[in-house]
């Protein structure tokens, strides 16, 4: 049996094509209007995610948009019967190629499953379908005094299903952790087409293996989520954001551990190097005097008591000034807060306008090693003569170092050198006790770098899990590792 898997995984040609008959079967399951087949123009948007380089794209043969768990179960059974790969997809805002159908087949889009199933105030839980836009969760919770703490940077577009599949992190992980901390229950369609309920509304649950945690961050390879129960928190009544300008990277980065160990846990500490905020400020026509800054930190503090939040933010602002900050801007209302956060949120978009020839990475190191990592990235950039703008979640060690093509290079040179630059970058992260992905996931994009940071035994444990749950290997094959 293992040989069979190996063959299937290493060679997409082992899968069968989606025929007109199979497309008709899919239509019978989900309805005619929810299948796209044989229409390359309409299928193209589902051939890629937000990874800028089209090199990672692959066309699906069919797109299905199921409306319920039992439809997904029937699709999975069909896929097993005919040996057709199925790639689940949320909003397509991923950054690892996770939603890209690398062997073609069926893309399973969950946008129709976008209901809020239940708001359970007494248990402080919300149950939603996977196609709910993450930002919408807090919109519907607004009147309840509760909130969901997940805050990926793409929250205005991404689906919560995708957040769970990737165990999305984002800007507030310093204080609130990542998506997985809040997932207590999942309804999952297994790769073989069974519908199972994992977990529930329990805050504590050690009954058997923690299968909810196994599913969270499984990148759509172990199951398709059809309902998600999330733990909620009391909505912080007060929030203050500080945008702190530093003269240079070193001052900014060395302020981070001082803040983190200063007695107050901020909600977020975001770092932006000069190239990152200049790109975003130009893109947004932002007029803060960024020209004089060499690096910026964006720091958030929230809590239930306005005066305390004000005191804490002031105390952090003072720490920044004594660490050499040039200026500390304060946003204590929504309008100003949006103004400064949009700088941070628009960096990736701004760079794409500048050049799609770039590789948005999300290496992560222990927080005390961030300064070393940033220094080493500077050396790496110099060595290869390749710009590597760097920004990200300094408070949790997760950095978006983004190699951008040197305009003097040919496409071929770029592709060749990028692989070498990434290999070195990952090696540096590893040597500092870090790893290659903090929140974007491995998907197809970083698969070949897994062995660099992961031992053979560890990889084999993962393979064994995949084989046990997906014997025909039809659910999102070609991701994370080769079987």
């Amino acid at each position: 049996m293992p040989r069979l898997w190996k063959d299937k995984m290493s060679d997409g040609a082992k899968y069968n094509p989606v025929t007109a008959e199979i497309a008709a079967e899919l239509a019978a399951i989900v309805g005619d209007s929810y299948v796209i087949f044989n229409d390359p123009e309409k299928l193209e948007p589902y051939s890629h995610d937000e990874v800028a380089d089209k090199h990672y794209a692959h066309m699906p043969e069919a797109l299905v948009r199921p409306g319920a768990a039992d439809e997904i179960a029937r699709i999975m059974k069909l896929a097993n019967k005919h040996l057709i790969p199925v790639t689940p997809r949320g909003a397509g805002s991923g950054l690892s190629g996770g939603a890209v159908p690398v062997f073609g087949g069926i893309v399973l889009m969950c946008d129709r499953m976008n209901r809020i199933i239940e708001i359970d105030r007494a248990n402080m839980m919300i149950t939603v379908e996977p196609g709910v836009v993450t930002n919408e969760i807090n919109e519907v919770l607004r009147s309840t005094g509760l909130f969901y703490a997940g805050y990926p940077m793409s929250l205005e577009t991404c689906f919560v299903g995708g957040n769970v599949a990737e165990n999305a992190g984002g800007g507030k992980a310093v204080k609130y952790g990542v998506t997985g901390r809040y997932v207590t229950g999942l309804e999952v369609v297994t790769p073989t087409g069974e519908i199972v309920q994992l977990g529930g509304k329990l805050v504590k649950d050690v009954t058997g293996y923690d299968l909810v945690s196994l599913m969270v961050g499984s990148e759509g390879t172990l199951g398709v989520f059809t309902s998600i129960t999330l733990k909620l928190m009391p909505l912080p009544q007060s929030n203050v954001d500080l945008l702190v300008l530093f003269g240079n990277i070193h001052d900014a980065i060395s302020a981070v551990p001082r803040i983190m160990t200063g007695g107050i846990i901020p909600t977020a500490i975001e770092f932006m190097d000069q190239s990152a905020f200049v790109a975003a400020c130009k893109y947004l026509n932002e007029t803060i005097p960024y020209q004089q800054a060499g690096a910026m930190l964006l720091i958030s503090v929230d809590g239930g008591d306005a005066e305390q939040v004000q005191r804490e933010s002031e105390s952090i602002g003072e720490m920044c000034l004594s660490a050499g900050a040039i200026e500390v801007y304060v946003a204590d209302n929504h309008t100003t807060s949006e103004r400064i956060w949009s700088v941070r949120r628009n960096i990736a978009e701004a760079f794409k306008v500048f050049s799609p020839k770039q590789s948005l990475e999300d290496i992560v190191v222990p927080i005390a090693q961030i300064a070393d990592m940033v220094d080493r990235l500077g050396e790496l950039s110099g060595k290869w003569d390749c710009p590597i703008p760097c920004y990200g979640h300094a408070g949790d060690g997760n950095l978006h170092a983004t190699p951008v093509m040197n305009p003097a290079w040919t496409q071929e040179e770029w592709e060749h050198k990028l692989q070498a630059i990434l290999a070195e970058m990952y090696q540096i992260a590893k040597s500092l006790g870090g790893t290659i992905s903090g929140e974007h996931g491995i998907g197809s994009k970083r698969k070949k770098f897994m062995p660099a940071v992961m031992g053979q035994e560890q990889m084999n444990m993962m393979r064994a899990i995949k084989r046990a749950l997906d014997p025909a290997c039809v659910l999102n094959p070609g991701k994370i590792f080769d079987l």
Partner: protein, 265 residues
């Protein structure tokens, strides 16, 4: 230069919800901010003071909590603030508001310029700035898009009009209302916030100002709100969906005919 900047505290615009039954704004639980268009007036005032020296006094008419708007202005760089607050002012329309603010400006004393935002984002009338000028019997230039220069007791400014800009000169003292183009508002700083928190903000009521009681508040306001309704947007849309060559030709002919009819081609 001595510059007075009247500002208004308004509900956070993106959080505003309307009461469908009454057609009025639900203000409960909505964050209050400085009218976003007033920030441009504050910024221009700060730039003029930094260039020419002097001081800026922000003045706001509203309930006691409007002091927060004045503190925000101070945190941006305004020197001091005056709150104009009295139960007797409640329900003032733009006429009564201009009347009281003009009295407050007069009490502040000698000044070179009053700089106002173009309009408030909640009331959306744009009348209070020119209204203050009228009560003070001062010249006013509205829709100022650029402050050009100071010239011997006068200022030169660009004014945004429908088909371009006018270059105008106005003797000082006078009143300007500014549009977004005039300056890019700065963010409040930590030091500014600390200064703002400590600032003493005097509160002036009706008895502190030279005003007539019968010209104040709802009773003193000539405006009467007779009816509030939501305008219906009626787009007369004609849609052609071509499915074959014949309907495609019809669609093209229809579009060409429509554009000709409007004399657009």
């Amino acid at each position: 230069m001595r510059i007075i900047v009247p500002i208004k505290q308004v509900p956070e615009t993106n959080a505003v919800r309307m009461d469908e039954a009454t057609g009025t704004m639900i203000r409960d639980g909505v964050e209050a901010i400085v009218n976003p268009l007033d920030l441009y007036a504050i910024e221009l005032a700060i730039q003029l003071r930094d260039q020419h020296g002097g001081e800026i006094i922000a003045v706001s008419m509203g309930p006691p909590k409007a002091a927060a708007a004045l503190r925000e202005a101070i945190s941006m760089g305004v020197d001091s603030g005056v709150l104009v607050s009295d139960k007797a002012f409640a329900g003032s329309d733009t006429w009564a508001t201009s009347y009281v603010l003009a009295a407050a400006v007069r009490k502040i004393g000698a000044f070179d310029l009053v700089i106002c935002g173009e309009r408030a984002t909640d009331g959306d009338t744009g009348q209070v700035g020119p209204g203050i000028a009228a009560f003070l019997d001062l010249p006013v230039i509205s829709y100022v898009s650029k402050f050009d220069s100071l010239v011997q007791g006068a200022c030169r400014v660009h004014r945004l009009v429908e088909n371009g800009y006018e270059l105008l000169e106005m003797a000082l003292p006078g009143v300007l209302t500014v549009v977004k183009e005039v300056a890019a508002p700065r963010l409040p700083t930590l030091r500014g916030k600390q200064k703002a928190r400590k600032a003493e903000i005097p509160s002036w009521g009706a008895k502190d100002l030279d005003v007539h009681a019968d010209k104040l508040g709802l009773a003193g306001s000539p405006t009467r709100v007779v009816k509030i309704f939501r305008p219906s947007v009626a787009r007369k849309c004609v849609k052609h969906v071509p499915t074959d060559e014949r309907t495609l030709n019809e669609a093209v002919d229809g579009l060409v005919g429509f554009l000709r009819g409007k004399q657009l081609i």
